[in-house]
Each structure stands twice: as structure tokens, then as C-alpha cells.
């Protein structure tokens, strides 16, 4: 997937300022940055929900799956009914088979008959992701997928997502959790005030911090990241 020169304006405010980046198959890209950096706007443009004012997005082939931050599903339906509905709306030739596949993938097979509202936040998020996967996407976009999950649920979620990337799916996710981005993101895209400040691996970001804010280079990754942003005037 390639994005070039993306600009999005809301009135006089520029939410994205000529942002461009690419992601290869099987890559796990974390978009990080402070609040209002433009993370959700960038993901919404990549998902095709919001049109950019300038720039373009190219998908090499296959569909783009989108998992919104707030689970987009029906809480009064069961797990199975949700998956079946979206499989039908995706016009799958055999919606029941797709539903079974997703139930197995999410490990929710035994809870298929439960009303979604009664499931934990972690399990709801797994269904949310499973619905995003129903399109059998080449690229999966996740907007802050681990918000509200406890550490155990978070670990399960990342195990699941890493498995998808291992299978060749390009995964691009936004997060506020810098440690999580360092741990699971193969690449980091740092946004601040709509501007792309950095695009590279966590190790490369450490190197940049060492050069630009040496006093924070040996601290933990979150402190080093904040020092880097401050050094860049954000």
C-alpha cells in the first residue's frame, strides 16, 4: 500500500500535512503520536471513509479491512449473527463457512450464541476485528485496537494480530501506547500536528533520539519518545 501527499483540512485547520508512507505485505506498521496528531484521520482516509483534499492512496490488490476504535457491531445480536450478517453484506458465496472460519480464528466458537453486549471488551474487540477480516483484506487498518483492554486481553489481541501479519496481511494500527508500538510495530510512523515526523523501525527511532535528544536516549522508550517530540517542537 502506498500513500502520497495526503492533505486533509477541517475548515482552516490542516489535520494532515502532505503525509506519505508505504507498507509491504505482512508488515506491522504502528502510527503513533499525541492527541490530535491526525492518526484517526489518516486511517479513515486509508480506509476510504474520508476523502483526502489532496494526495492519493494506492492499494496493490485486494480489499482493505477496517476496524474502528469503537467496535462497529450490533450488541443485541449474538456473535454468530453479527458475523453472519456482515459475511452476507460482504456477499460471501458461503457466509456460513466464512462465519465458522472467523469463529475459529477468534477463538469464540464456544461463545457463538452469546449476545455481544454480554461479552467482555476484549472479546467484543476480537469480533470487531473479525468483522474487519471478513472482507479477506490484504491490508487491515486498526484504530487504537487495545483501548480499554486489560493486559491479558491485550496480549491475546496482539498474538492474534501478529498471527495475521505472519500470514501475509499488512497491518496498520494507531495507538497511544508507545511501549505497545515498540513491542509489536515492525515500523513506526510518528505523526504530530498532522505532520509525519518519522518513518522507520523502533531501533531507528532510538538512534534518532540519541542524536537529537541524547539526555533521554537511555531512558525507557516512552520518555525517549516524548523528549524527541519536544525536541521537534511538539
Amino acid at each position: 500500500m502506498q500513500a502520497q501527499g495526503l492533505v486533509k483540512r477541517y475548515g482552516n485547520r490542516e489535520a494532515l500535512k502532505r503525509v506519505g508512507f508505504g507498507a509491504a505485505a505482512g508488515e506491522l506498521v504502528a502510527i503513533i503520536g499525541p492527541n490530535g496528531a491526525g492518526k484517526t484521520t489518516l486511517l479513515s482516509i486509508l480506509a476510504g471513509i474520508v476523502a483526502p483534499d489532496e494526495g492519493e492512496v494506492e492499494i496493490g490488490g485486494g480489499a482493505v479491512g477496517w476496524v474502528p476504535q469503537q467496535a462497529g457491531l450490533y450488541r443485541r445480536l449474538t456473535v454468530e449473527e453479527n458475523l453472519l450478517l456482515f459475511a452476507r453484506l460482504e456477499r460471501h458465496p458461503d457466509p456460513h463457512a466464512s462465519c465458522e472460519e472467523m469463529l475459529e480464528l477468534t477463538g469464540l466458537d464456544e461463545r457463538r450464541g452469546e449476545i455481544v453486549a454480554r461479552l467482555s471488551g476484549g472479546n467484543q474487540q476480537r469480533i470487531n476485528i473479525a468483522i474487519g477480516l471478513l472482507a479477506r483484506p490484504a491490508v487491515l487498518l486498526l484504530d487504537e485496537p487495545s483501548v480499554g483492554l486489560d493486559p491479558r486481553q491485550r496480549a491475546r489481541l496482539w498474538e492474534f494480530v501478529s498471527g495475521l501479519a505472519g500470514g501475509g496481511t499488512t497491518v496498520i494500527f494507531s495507538t497511544h501506547d508507545i511501549q505497545e508500538a515498540e513491542r509489536y510495530g515492525g515500523r513506526l510512523l510518528v505523526l504530530a500536528d498532522g505532520e509525519a515526523l518519522f518513518d522507520g523501525s523502533p531501533e531507528e527511532l532510538r538512534e534518532v533520539v540519541r542524536r537529537e535528544a541524547p539526555e533521554a536516549a537511555d531512558r525507557d522508550f516512552e520518555i525517549a519518545f516524548v523528549a524527541y517530540l519536544q525536541h521537534r517542537g511538539h
Partner: protein
């Protein structure tokens, strides 16, 4: 079309999962049907009025020295209200102030004497006493109207009786007959017989001034007899000088029970469709499913069409259920079911489209439900305001407002569908089709404006 089918199925599944909502959808129309059914099949209750008759049994209205038979005013009054007999004014006052009765009517002991004094040189003023509880202005107004109407009827009954007696005496003067006076019978010759006698006498007199005078008297007796005939109907008219001749203008009105059924059915249809569609559309956004759906899975138009379809389908079932319930109380013409369906389907579509326009504005189901209530209820009530009940300018304004919302045309269509004597259903159906289209466009614009991700 496939996506619409699956979304419709999903909405019905969600509806089924909400037992309270589903129960309300069934119970509500049945409740309305039963209430309306009882209301129209039992008729209005008679108001309870305390009645104290202090007039002595032997008192009679006297005309020309003759006592009239009893007019049975008490019996006539108690046909119109539920009379609660009381024995004193204090008891009557106590019953009114305690709310046991709406009012008290007291006929004083000297009422008949005062009526009789009207034909003397010292006429009195016959009065009855009415005690009402003024704590509730609406109730006080109702009681005033009822009592005034009852007294008008009592006055009319007495006036008729007097007029009848007057006519009888006039007839006696013209045609002659027997008049009972102080236990004996007096024979009255009458003008007609007098004229005949005088006419027979006339040839026996020699020509001259006496015969000429007799001829004048004979002529007078003849003319008086002939012309006093006219006075009879005049006296009759005196009792009720003005009669009402009712002419229906501006279309015939449907029977009251049919109109009540049409109002109940339209009210049910409006509440069910507007609330269901508005709530269901808002739910898509509250559940955050809307952006997921319109991201290529289903178009906004198809989503709106699905919601309208949902509203029409549920509205149809609920309204038919209600009509079936009303069948217990009032026989309905099931042969007109084709027209009922047309009214329900098109009325439901227009109301559902209006619900979609409301539902597209906000994303919280509760806010949308409140908004739908706040719009539907006042407009439904305004639609029932009859012309002439308020000032001309205000009525014109109400006409415009109610024409812009589908309730009134839906009510007109429902009335026309239920009543075989009603004007054509075509105009309200066209009106509904235009409103369905207009609200559909509005809903689409509102969704685009307010439902951005």
C-alpha cells in the same frame, strides 16, 4: 436488494431481542383498540346531578283559569343526567363540594306560583337554583353548558304545553265546544256557529239599518273564524320560534365511531413507524455500525429504504391488529381491506420517511426518540383541530403545518378507506406519496450532513 433483506432481518432480530419493545408494539395497539372500542360503543356517561324538587305535587301551571296537566319536567331532566335525589339544599351543597356530583339543581317550592304569576298584573321571576363546584374551570364550563341546555329544554317543554293549551282555547272560540268550569260544563257556541245563526236570521229582518248592521256582524264572525285559524300555528311557533335546519357543507362528515377508529389507527401507525424508524436509524450510529455499513457494504439510499420498509411492515401488522381488535366493538367493512392497505402502506411510508429524516439528525436513540415524540404528538393533536374552533389566521397556520407532516393526510386516507360515504381516497394518497418522496430526500441530505464519520 440483498443487503436490504439482510438488514431488515437484522432489525427484526434486534426487535425480537427487546421484549419490552416488542410487547409494547403488541400491547399498545390492543390497548388503544380496547379504549377506543369502549368509548365509542358505550356512548358518553350521564353526568351526576343532585336534584331537589321542592315544588308541591299538587302545583300545576294555570292557563286561563285552567290547570295544565303535569309537564313532568323532572322526568325529562333525569333522562339527560343521572339524578341523585337529595332532601335539602345543605345536602345538595355537600354533595357538590365533595365531588360526588357535578352540580345540584334545586326547583324551589314557589316555582309554579311564580310561573303562574306571569299571566297576572304582578308578574314574578321564576327561578331555579344551580349549585356548581368552580374549582375546575373545565368542569365548571361543562356543567354550565349542561344545566343551561337542560333548562332550555324544560322551558321549551312548558312553553309547548302552554301553547297547546292556548291553541285548544282558540279552537274552542272558533269552532265551539264544551269548556269545564268549576266542576260544571259550559257550552261555547263558537264563531263559526255564530256566523251560521246570524246568516239564517238575516232574511227574517226587513231591509233597513238593523239588517245592514246584522250583515256586518255576520261578516265579522265569518272573517274572524276564518282568520283566527292562522293564529293556531302562530301560537305553536311561539313555543319554538326558531328551528334548526342543518345543511352539510364542505363534504359530509363520517360517522363518529368511524372517525374515532381512523384517529386511533392513524395515531398508532404514526407512533409506531416514526419512533421505530427514527430509533432504528439512530441505533446504526449509536452502535457505530453506520460507517462500516456505508463503506461499500450498502448505500445510504438502500439503508434508508430498509428503514422505511421496516417501519411500514411493523406499522402494517400493528395497525391491522388494532383494527381487528376494534372489530369486536364496531363492525368494520372488511370488503374495503384493499383501501385500508393502501392507506396504511402509503401513510406508513410517508410517516416512516419522516421518522428517517428525524433519525438522521442525531446519533443517540434516546435523543431521537424524544425528538420523534415531540414532533409527532403536537402535530397529531393539531391535525384534529376543526375549522372554526380557533381564529382564521391561526387555523390557516395549522393547516400549513399539518399539511407538511404526514399525520393529517394519513388520517384523511384512513377515514376515506374506512368510510364508504367519505370523499375519494385519491387526494390524500397523492399527498402522502409526495410527502414520502420529500422526506426521503430530506433524510438522505440529513444523513449526509449529520452522519459524517
Amino acid at each position: 436488494m440483498g443487503a436490504v433483506r439482510w438488514l431488515l432481518l437484522k432489525d427484526l432480530q434486534i426487535l425480537r431481542r427487546s421484549p419490552l419493545q416488542s410487547a409494547l408494539l403488541v400491547v399498545y395497539p390492543m390497548l388503544i383498540a380496547v379504549l377506543v372500542g369502549f368509548a365509542i360503543s358505550r356512548g358518553p356517561e350521564k353526568p351526576r346531578v343532585a336534584f331537589l324538587n321542592e315544588v308541591p305535587q299538587s302545583s300545576r301551571i294555570v292557563v286561563g283559569g285552567q290547570k295544565l296537566p303535569q309537564a313532568n319536567v323532572q322526568g325529562r331532566i333525569c333522562l339527560k343526567v343521572e339524578c341523585v335525589p337529595v332532601h335539602s339544599k345543605a345536602e345538595a351543597e355537600e354533595k357538590v363540594s365533595s365531588g360526588d356530583v357535578l352540580a345540584a339543581l334545586i326547583l324551589p317550592a314557589d316555582l309554579i306560583n311564580r310561573i303562574n304569576s306571569l299571566s297576572t298584573l304582578t308578574p314574578g321571576t321564576p327561578e331555579v337554583e344551580v349549585i356548581v363546584n368552580e374549582e375546575d374551570p373545565v368542569k365548571a364550563g361543562l356543567v354550565d353548558d349542561r344545566i343551561t341546555a337542560l333548562l332550555a329544554q324544560a322551558n321549551l317543554a312548558i312553553a309547548r304545553r302552554i301553547a297547546a293549551e292556548g291553541s285548544h282555547y282558540l279552537d274552542l272560540v272558533i269552532k265551539g265546544g264544551n269548556l269545564p268550569v268549576l266542576g260544571t260544563t259550559v257550552h261555547i257556541l263558537g264563531l263559526e256557529a255564530s256566523a251560521h245563526i246570524l246568516e239564517a236570521l238575516e232574511p227574517a229582518l226587513p231591509p233597513g239599518p238593523l239588517r245592514s248592521s246584522l250583515a256586518q256582524v255576520t261578516e265579522f264572525a265569518k272573517e274572524a273564524g276564518e282568520n283566527l285559524d292562522i293564529a293556531g300555528p302562530l301560537i305553536d311557533r311561539l313555543a319554538e320560534p326558531i328551528k334548526v335546519h342543518k345543511v352539510a357543507a364542505g363534504g359530509s362528515s363520517p360517522p363518529l365511531e368511524i372517525f374515532a377508529i381512523a384517529v386511533a389507527a392513524t395515531f398508532t401507525l404514526a407512533l409506531v413507524t416514526v419512533l421505530l424508524v427514527a430509533g432504528s436509524l439512530a441505533l446504526e450510529r449509536e452502535e457505530n455500525a453506520f460507517p462500516r455499513l456505508v463503506r461499500g457494504l450498502v448505500s445510504e439510499q438502500a439503508l434508508l429504504a430498509e428503514k422505511v420498509l421496516l417501519g411500514v411492515a411493523v406499522g402494517l401488522v400493528v395497525t391491522l391488529l388494532m383494527l381487528a381488535g376494534l372489530q369486536i366493538f364496531v363492525p368494520l367493512e372488511w370488503s374495503r381491506i384493499g383501501l385500508w392497505l393502501a392507506a396504511i402502506l402509503l401513510g406508513g411510508a410517508a410517516l416512516a420517511a419522516a421518522g428517517a429524516a428525524l433519525g438522521a439528525i442525531a446519533r443517540e436513540v434516546r435523543a431521537v426518540s424524544l425528538l420523534a415524540f415531540m414532533v409527532t404528538l403536537p402535530i397529531a393533536f393539531l391535525s384534529l383541530v376543526p375549522s372554526g374552533a380557533i381564529g382564521g389566521g391561526a387555523y390557516e397556520a395549522i393547516k400549513v403545518v399539518t399539511a407538511l407532516f404526514p399525520f393529517k393526510p394519513a388520517l384523511q386516507a384512513m377515514t376515506a378507506a374506512l368510510d364508504s360515504a367519505a370523499p375519494s381516497i385519491g387526494v390524500p394518497l397523492l399527498h402522502l406519496a409526495a410527502l414520502a418522496l420529500a422526506y426521503g430526500v430530506l433524510a438522505r441530505l440529513a444523513l449526509r450532513r449529520f452522519a459524517t464519520v
